[in-house]
């Protein structure tokens, strides 16, 4: 089937939406390559299709079979980001994968929030440990009128406040920070493995071999 001008415009529109949707999650070079490849795929399918009962219907049928551009982009970007996060185990791909899940599903939002809290707690502990030699009198457990009010770096100190905790808190904070970061990363990878298996099932793809 050869497309007329309206059909070409429809394909360009589809690819535009696809590119825009992919841009949210993937680097520019990957998006360009993905769009080019999916364009080739779509045109291949169009070439094979017969203009029955008419060109417009046949084109819509091809695009329907491929899926809505947002859904294709979602599947494509999720596959790339989750695969990269699981195989490399690095922080940046993991954050990208969780960002993808958080912005495309409700179920992905809460684990992403947990991941954010884990990273904040881990990096916060390490940062507090590093700040202790810089601001020794402002770093530690903040106690106001004998009541603990918080832990971290406080400057200036509120009236009636005193800091508890000497230099001995540094190794503890470093150990806690590293432990929290490692546990958060492990939880994140385990969750992504579970998510991938679950999504694979929801795609209703037949098992293999069947």
């Amino acid at each position: 089937m050869k497309l007329n001008e309206a059909g070409e415009a429809r394909v360009r529109g589809y690819l535009f939406v696809l590119g825009q949707s992919l841009k949210s999650f993937l680097p520019r070079a990957v998006v360009m390559d993905a769009v080019q490849e999916l364009e080739s795929h779509i045109r291949e399918r169009i070439d094979e299709a017969e203009a029955e009962p008419d060109e417009r219907t046949a084109l819509e049928q091809v695009l329907k079979e491929i899926g809505m551009p947002q859904r294709v982009a979602q599947a494509y970007s999720a596959e790339i980001t989750i695969e990269e996060a699981i195989t490399t185990g690095r922080v940046a791909p993991t954050v990208r994968a969780f960002w993808n899940l958080a912005t495309t599903s409700i179920l992905g939002f809460f684990p992403a929030l947990g991941l954010l809290l884990g990273y904040l707690l881990g990096f916060g502990s390490l940062l507090t440990a590093l700040m202790k030699p810089v601001l020794p009198n402002n770093t530690g457990l903040l106690v106001v009128d004998g009541v603990p009010r918080g832990f971290g770096v406080f400057s200036p100190l509120p009236p009636g406040a005193e800091m508890w905790g000497g230099y001995w808190i540094m190794p503890i904070l470093i150990a806690v920070g590293l432990a929290v970061l490692i546990l958060t990363q492990r939880f994140a990878t385990a969750f992504l493995v579970w998510w991938r298996a679950r999504r694979g099932k929801s795609d209703k793809l037949p098992g293999w071999p069947v």
């Binding site: 999916l38 291949e44 979602q74 195989t87 298996a197 795609d203 037949p206 098992g207 293999w208």
Partner: protein, 122 residues
């Protein structure tokens, strides 16, 4: 009060999915091991020869990852059809990887066959 039915994940479904995931990469590498193939051609080849149905959203990211890791090589060919096609073929490194994967697959399969035989299920 009537208790709500508990929704559980069928362990067999989970197992099938894990098996499918594990075998997909090997199946893709095998499909481009003898001749270069483009994306849609790989999808059709897997569908026809193995009943393994894969979607565009699954196969292209995997091909992209295999290309980035140097296991397959990709090349755009524009003189065959009005639109260019991206062909994939196994790289030298990919061939080595595939040989190792096939050795492992063969050994694993014979061990499972042995267990099945020992259990008297054949």
């Amino acid at each position: 009060m009537k208790a709500k039915p508990v929704v559980t994940v069928d362990p067999l479904d989970k197992w099938r999915e894990q098996l499918r995931r594990g075998g997909l990469e090997l199946a893709i590498l095998l499909s481009v091991s003898s001749i270069p193939r483009y994306g849609l051609e790989i999808i059709r080849y897997l569908q026809e020869s193995t009943d393994l149905v894969v979607t565009e959203g699954t196969i292209y990211p995997i091909l992209g990852r295999l290309t980035r890791s140097g296991v397959v090589e990709a090349e755009w060919v524009s003189d065959e059809t009005p639109h260019p096609r991206k062909y994939y073929r196994l790289s030298q490194r990919g061939r080595k990887n595939l040989d190792e994967m096939l050795d492992h697959w063969s050994s694993y399969r014979s061990k499972i066959d042995h267990l099945v035989e020992a259990a008297g299920r054949i």
